[in-house]
Symmetry: D2
Subunit: 328 residues, 4 copies
């Protein structure tokens, strides 16, 4: 499962990224798709061209970049998060709609739009259809968060009932159930606070904090999507902005660490569900920062140091070996 | 507040370290104290000599190395964690006892002993006395975890009632209340499991996990010492050993990240209580690994690359600037 | 706030009732409305006639019986529970609909139908409109549970989005948020069980229950509607049927006691929110059982001992004085 | 398991009682032991005489009244509650001590003392020894609460470490672990309040209570002794006094209902653990009030209507059949 986050810095940067919680690798690496890259739309079999260059974490299947999370050169970002038990796809194309396969949604959004408002104008015309990438690859069960360089974000959820676009007033997201359920659930934790409560008396017994942090008691500590949503929303609420870019990047990883999956905590079908990687994109600078489970340090790829008009997809080595700075 | 952890690797290494959660810096840096280093015992004013070399995180006050956590060349480690509301010191020296000031305990243990069993033979003779380092420095309110290279650990707690030595059956520790209270409290969370529960029916409604991780629901998610103890004990219980040293180091930081304090989550007297640094010592190799709040990457100092018979204390730069590995 | 419950007995009875949690009295008493009683519909100003006799807890305002919960002679029951922040009423009559005022819903349902299936055939044609009983009485913010003598129950919720009819697979209900939110929330508590868990080891520490009941740890214990829904659903799930009628009545009150509001626990606008009364209707026998906050004992009124073709509403004394059976 | 409670009324009465949570009956009934009643002390085999008359819930085994909870004519009350895993008894008599069998403790205290202060003077001289009532009856694993007519109460706990007398600053008690553990645990719930919290903003999302009672969110809702202690202590803390005796009695049962065991919630060795009975003693009036699982109404026996100088124990029928007040 996964957790997505957005964060501003006081010097004008927007950060967007996520934890990818999974029990297996999907051949992921930082991947740059240049402008005017042609890919075959799986539903219509037509070739489509990307208008904007895109950088993100992806596997490449038959020349097709399947992004898990990415941003384009205009700073628009999008991530797909697991949505099991709720995700629904139409069996066949709906006439009059822009029919998309689910893995096509990220590339379609990022190759065409600059802001969330741009997306909102067109998103009503799409439909999501059950067409797989190829015969070996099962259909994903996803919902998506889209966040732009102005700090605005939305959530796209296709369930059996409808395709819903939710404004995202907190800029975080996890997994099932639906986004509006999570938002309602936050009300239950409204007493959470960074401030120590004052001592009170219960009968003749004075109650006082045994140490700092008592204001946060009551937060749920499990690894499920419901618990992670509450925690990341709380952390976001107490720190909506950081001083500057470096402070922001560091803070972004600290916040996602709080909702990450340490190996051993959770099993999915007998495999350890771990935070495979954590990403953090600077939407103004076009830099993709990431750490991996085996490499706690942060690596980065700057899209603006590359030729955005290249012909081919470029893949960057997935740095998953522990990096240590030895001081002697 | 703080969290301490021990962890084994299958290839024979023992790791010991901690989160230092604090709202201010204490001029800390990795510090190496050589063999036969002389320091003035604050209670008796006598000079004492270290038998073993020691590496750890310390501030140095008037040539005196005040360690927060450290290990010696034999792999014995010790860390002091805050114990507010419970810590108690004798007003004056107790005749017939080895009277120690609280900040002297770590250096006394690490400069004299090789294993926890060695410590146990002598610890009954000590007493802790309220003598400060100097007039400007308030007395700390601490309890201590001692862990050796065999994986054995104990907790030392001096309260108004008594000086107690607890065997540590899990190898973790946080803050107040007393260690035995925390151990009892774990029973309340015995249902926590990495395994997904099977669906059940409540009336005609089938209940099923909304995603992975439901077995961990019920874990407390606050930042207080009680909540952190439960979480780190759970994580330790599901993964008592890791494959090899590098995997172990990475895992150690992941586990402590789960109980770390992201900026904003908790205030202590109007200041953010954050995880100032995280340490991880390889007790066989004598290497001190650490990350800091501003530098998520791991830095390291190897004591065996230094002259352990040097005359002076050696301090290593505290690497607190964000390190990023740029791939282009 | 309130909690509603349904329960079967093995000898063929169905029980339906509720806790009425309120910080003030509303002149309530057990009230019998005979067949063919005429009342003025507030929306249309037309006179309407009851087909079936109805017994329940009501205040009578201008000859109009405002029921909080009731059943008719066919065993169909209905209760209104507070639904603040979600309840929505149309500003004016919707053409082509059977427009009802919210307090009219219970009497309309119970005076016309025998079973939930009967209700379902007609409920699609109604609309709820914002017309008060009189100028002094504010509009209620309610949702409703309807339960028949076959044990089938539904929930009726009118929000800004729509009028929704939910099948009720557990036969319980509380307050806000919407019923489907509560059902989803139950998944989070699927580990709750009456069975003691087996001891487990965390490290060298064996965890075992400190006493019976550990399987229920993790249940939320607050007085809010969310917490009460989880608890009453759990209790219902472990005991869907009782031996016989008397056992069932006793059990019904025990279950609702678990989610009742003891004085002092909760304030609403400076007043104590208490469980004003608890009702339990035997849907086969037409007997209305109830206890009150000041009288823990159970009182009862049997509708079949009255003339159901009487001309007037009959009110029964509200027995709110502590009844004690002295044995000497 | 069990829960004990004390409560004052503003017109000068003290109430003391308990829930008896058990999966079987123990032939209990309200039992009056007169003054100067002789019983054989099981440890010494000497005959002892009661100084004060005692009323309480007891089984009678071989003419010996084994009280679960009781008070004497001076208003001193005592109850034994299960203390599994902690209760410890000496193997044999300790010389120089007043050696008592565990079931003898209640009758010894109530037949000799008037107040808690009286008990405190003598309790230091006792020792608890492992002598059963007879060969068929296993030794109980108990700790005790003693409460007098002045509202003072203590807890007596014999563990392997020591016999401890705890002042009881809240006047409540449940089961394992030790009383001081529970008191420390209360600090974790110090944010609980009857007052609704004010709305707060998390990002752009305003959080507000979905209904009354949100101040109590975070209370633990399980049936274990730890959860029950927190809930009953909270309820006691918000309502330390009631208006008058009748209000107090009603309130006393409401408070204990909140921590009672409804059938089905908890299994102990395949049997339902239920609240067999709830008792409430008026310590000034000498009246023993009780309800049973099958009879939700309150029954009462007044010791002052009996001959306290009688020769024999008097037993009163255990009213366990549902009492209903029919109004027609």
């Amino acid at each position: 499962m996964c957790t997505a986050l957005t964060l501003k810095t006081k010097d004008g940067y927007n950060l967007f990224g996520r934890n990818m919680d999974l029990s297996y690798s999907f051949n992921q690496a930082v991947t740059l798709v240049p402008r005017n890259y042609e890919y075959r739309d799986r539903v219509t079999s037509n070739m489509k061209k990307t208008k904007y260059a895109i950088i993100g974490m992806a596997s490449v299947i038959d020349d097709y970049p399947a992004f898990a999370d990415a941003m384009n050169e205009k700073g628009l970002g999008c991530a797909g998060l697991n949505f099991p038990g709720y995700s629904y796809l139409e069996d066949k194309e709906v006439p009059g709609k822009n029919n998309l396969a689910p893995y096509d949604l990220i590339i379609w959004i990022l190759s065409n739009f600059e802001t969330v408002d741009d997306v909102l104008k067109e998103i009503g015309n799409i439909e999501l259809v059950a067409v797989p990438i190829n015969e070996k690859t099962p259909l994903p069960t996803l919902h998506w968060i889209v966040a732009d360089a102005n700090g605005k974000s939305i959530v796209i959820e296709k369930t059996k009932e409808s395709l819903k676009i939710h404004e995202n007033p907190i800029g975080v997201m996890t997994n099932s159930p639906t986004f509006d359920w999570h938002l309602t659930n936050l009300n239950e934790y409204m007493k959470t606070t960074p401030i120590q409560p004052e001592p009170v008396k219960w009968g003749e017994k004075e109650l006082r904090p045994l140490g700092v942090g008592l204001g946060t008691n009551g937060l749920p500590g499990g690894c499920s999507g419901v618990d992670r949503f509450v925690r990341i929303a709380y952390l976001k609420s107490t720190l909506s902005e950081t001083e500057d870019l470096n402070t922001g990047i560091s803070q972004f990883f600290h916040m996602l660490n709080n909702v990450a999956m340490p190996r051993g905590a959770v099993k999915a079908d007998d495999l350890d569900d771990i935070t495979l990687y954590t990403s953090c994109m600077c939407q103004q600078k076009g830099i993709y920062y990431y750490s991996t489970y085996n490499n706690n340090g942060i690596s980065a790829v700057d899209m603006n140091k590359e030729d955005l008009d290249a012909k081919e997809i470029k893949r960057f080595e997935y740095l998953d070996k522990l990096h240590i700075t030895y001081q002697n």
